[in-house]
């Protein structure tokens, strides 16, 4: 990253940033926005102000200053690094040292060029699929062999990137909404282990006697206690790979209603990579949420790598996997990645969370048996295994998820 080159800074002085550099900075913000980093105008102003304060001919300072002002999530840092390199060096210089190295693990979507026609950029209405290598080749052609390596790192036979639009996301959702609200509410209000003083509940003898002392040994009132409410958290991880395509409308509803049922819910979607979706869903209408998702999530219908997705979950969002967390995984278990990774990551997760619930749409079919390799690997770590039908039948829902609602200390 330190080798990222700020070609612009050289001829400009530290005094007012104007003209060409200012223009390029605004372009850079737009470029980041186009590629999925939520940069606001206020932050663009910040970056301009920041650059007045530092020596912009120092590439390293330039890099860190723009990053501190524009990127506010550590999980976006890798993407920013790539976009930074692409924007400030990739477009003009042939200098291979200026490029960031990249490994196959953090393969990200190909970056979009800034000068696309806004009308046909993100507002696509149809489902579009972009083969990763294909979309990237025009800029790769003029950049020499090094880039080709980078291209290969992007490309995986299983990774077909795509966006998805939703036909009628609001159909038949009332029941789902009710079930999920109920689930979320139960999760947020389940009785924990500790006891606290209360108006109602069992008689608390210790406090009753103590209060009795005050009135000279006469028990004037009975003190009571109840269990303290332990607020649990739901983390929903939803598979949106190609094999789940036929359920995508239902998945969107599931993501949307779980996210909005309680603010203790975090929702993620994964196929070949994993993204947190709360910012597209929270506090919006279902319609605008589905539009935002289809604009911003570009890995629908890609391959399935549950293991590495769970790895990302552990590494980036490990903090939300706590002993009070119920992890809900929605997937059909067609794992294309390494089963060893899946197993070791599930084992780590098993140790940090309270419950793991696995919902498999295939389990709704009569006679289904979890025989796929991925599912077989996962089963020993799962507390509750069920289909998606449980959201359509209230009694079934209570029967299956009731188990995960009951309080229990985390399994080690």
């Amino acid at each position: 990253m330190s080798s990222a080159n700020s070609g612009e800074g050289k001829e400009e002085n530290t005094k007012p940033i104007e003209g060409h550099l200012l223009e390029r900075l605004v372009q850079f913000s737009m470029f980041l926005r186009e590629n999925g980093l939520g940069v606001t105008t206020a932050e663009t102003l910040d970056v301009v102000e920041s650059l007045l304060l530092i020596d912009i001919t120092n590439k390293e300072l330039f890099y860190h200053a723009t990053r501190a002002a524009l990127v506010k999530r550590s999980e976006d840092h890798a993407l920013f690094e790539r976009l930074f390199a692409r924007f400030w060096t990739g477009e003009r210089s042939e200098n291979p040292a200026g490029r960031v190295t990249q490994t196959a693990e953090d393969a990200e979507p190909p970056v979009k060029s800034v000068n696309v026609n806004p009308a046909e950029s993100v507002m696509q209405v149809r489902t579009q699929r972009i083969a990763a290598a294909g979309a990237d080749s025009p800029s790769g052609a003029d950049e020499g062999g090094n880039t080709r390596k980078q291209l290969l790192a992007f490309y995986s036979p299983a990774e077909t990137l795509g966006r998805r639009n939703f036909r009628n996301p609001s159909a038949d959702s009332a029941l789902l909404k009710r079930s999920l609200k109920r689930f979320a509410r139960k999760m947020a209000t389940r009785p924990g282990r500790r006891l606290i003083p209360s108006e109602t509940g069992d008689v608390d003898l210790r406090r009753t006697f103590r209060a009795g002392l005050r009135s000279g040994g006469q028990f004037v009132s009975l003190e009571r206690r109840r269990r303290k409410i332990s607020k649990s958290k739901i983390v929903l991880v939803c598979d949106i790979s190609g094999s789940m395509d036929s359920h995508s409308d239902q998945l969107l509803q599931l993501l949307y209603y779980s996210c909005n049922a309680s603010h203790r819910t975090e929702v993620f979607a994964f196929s070949t990579r994993l993204a947190r979706l709360n910012r597209y869903l929270e506090g919006r209408s279902l319609g605008s949420a589905s539009r935002l998702i289809s604009e911003n999530v570009n890995f629908w219908s890609s391959g399935t790598r549950i293991g590495s997705a769970l790895g990302t979950l552990l590494a980036e969002y490990g903090g939300s996997l706590r002993s009070s967390t119920v992890l809900v995984i929605v997937s059909d278990g067609w794992e294309l990645g390494d089963l060893g990774i899946l197993e070791s990551n599930l084992r780590s997760i098993r140790r940090s969370v309270n419950r793991i619930v696995w919902l498999n749409p295939l389990a709704d079919n009569p006679g289904y048996e979890p025989l796929t390799a991925g599912m077989k690997t996962a089963l020993p770590f799962i507390d509750v295994f069920a289909g998606l039908k449980i959201f359509k039948d209230r009694r079934e829902f209570e029967r299956v998820l009731g188990k995960s609602i009951a309080p229990q200390s985390p399994a080690i």
Binding site: D46, E60, R67, K72, S74, G319, R351
Partner: protein, 299 residues
């Protein structure tokens, strides 16, 4: 403070090892007067950074430790009811109601909590306000904080509006147990501190535990890197644990790490019974021999 180099020297004096990303971000936060949001693994020096800043600039450190259920009365102010009652008892025969009101609703009877403290601070230098582990507080508090950070003023109905003399330097830390809102993120400069590289960690160890011998420090640091990379270690130990471990070994008077010693003192690093059980015995020994073989290879 003229440049990042100068800030680097300040950090060096305060025994804080800072890389360019930390330097640049802190420098900009100082210059732009924006809050600094620090996220990262536990035990990697987030809180330490705020402490170092206050120490280095000789300004007051005001700390607000967040927890679930934190509300405005424990962050802003409370009236000292007991003393107010006492005052009324003592003075009720001498003063009129109006006079009493005047006297009991004065700053004297105000219990200042951290945020008000930061506003009222009249030291020569702006204080450092450390809002620690904000992810533990509720989302409602985050919203309240946003408003406070924008204005740096507190309105007390009985006294009027109090405004900060100079803007405190605000440092907010988060362990990411909950995702923070975009609103807060937008208003802050963002810094992510992860586990240090072995080279950086070695510098930290030598700076913080100067009596340690070079070889021991290197062994511990490299072993720590290996332990962190293990999949089944869920709670990754931070720099704080490294320092604990090195101090413990120095206290035992050792200059080299061997397998039995590492096993006896491993509880400085791993704080859960099953992780300790997993790693003890052969696995630890093989990690350690890997570290030693690496050192041989370098020679």
């Amino acid at each position: 403070m003229k440049s990042t180099e100068e800030l680097g020297r300040v950090f060096e004096q305060a025994k804080y090892v800072a890389d360019p990303s930390i330097l640049t971000t802190v420098y900009l936060a100082l210059k732009l007067g924006k809050p600094l949001l620090i996220e990262g693994e536990p035990g990697c020096g987030k809180t330490e950074l705020a402490k170092v800043l206050s120490e280095a600039f000789g300004s007051k450190l005001i700390r607000l430790q967040c927890y679930e259920g934190l509300d405005s009365s424990s962050t802003l102010y409370e009236w000292d009811y007991l003393r107010q009652l006492l005052m009324i008892r003592m003075e009720e025969n001498k003063k009129t109601t109006e006079q009493l009101k005047q006297s009991i609703f004065s700053e004297e009877f105000l219990l200042k909590r951290p945020l008000l403290d930061a506003v009222l601070d009249d030291g020569p230098k702006p204080p450092v306000l450390l809002i620690d582990e904000i992810d533990r507080a509720d989302e409602e508090f985050e919203g309240f904080l946003l408003e406070f950070l924008a204005e740096f003023q507190v309105t007390i109905p009985e006294l009027g509006t109090l405004k900060a003399k100079h803007r405190p330097l605000v440092v907010i830390t988060s362990n990411r147990t909950r995702d923070l809102g975009d609103g807060l993120r937008r208003r802050c400069l963002y810094l992510y501190v992860s586990f240090p590289t072995p080279e950086k960690e070695l510098r930290i160890v030598k700076l913080k535990v100067p009596e340690v011998q070079g070889r021991l420090a290197r062994q511990v640091v490299e072993l720590m890197a290996k332990i962190r990379s293990l999949d089944d270690v869920v709670r990754k130990p931070g720099t704080a644990e490294t320092l604990d471990w090195v101090s413990a070994l120095v206290a035992l008077g050792r200059s080299e790490l061997d397998a039995p010693l590492a096993e006896q003192t491993l509880s400085c690093v791993l704080k859960s019974a099953d992780e300790l059980a997993h790693l003890k015995g052969e696995r630890l020994a093989s990690l350690l021999s890997g570290v030693k073989a690496g050192a041989e290879g370098r020679k």
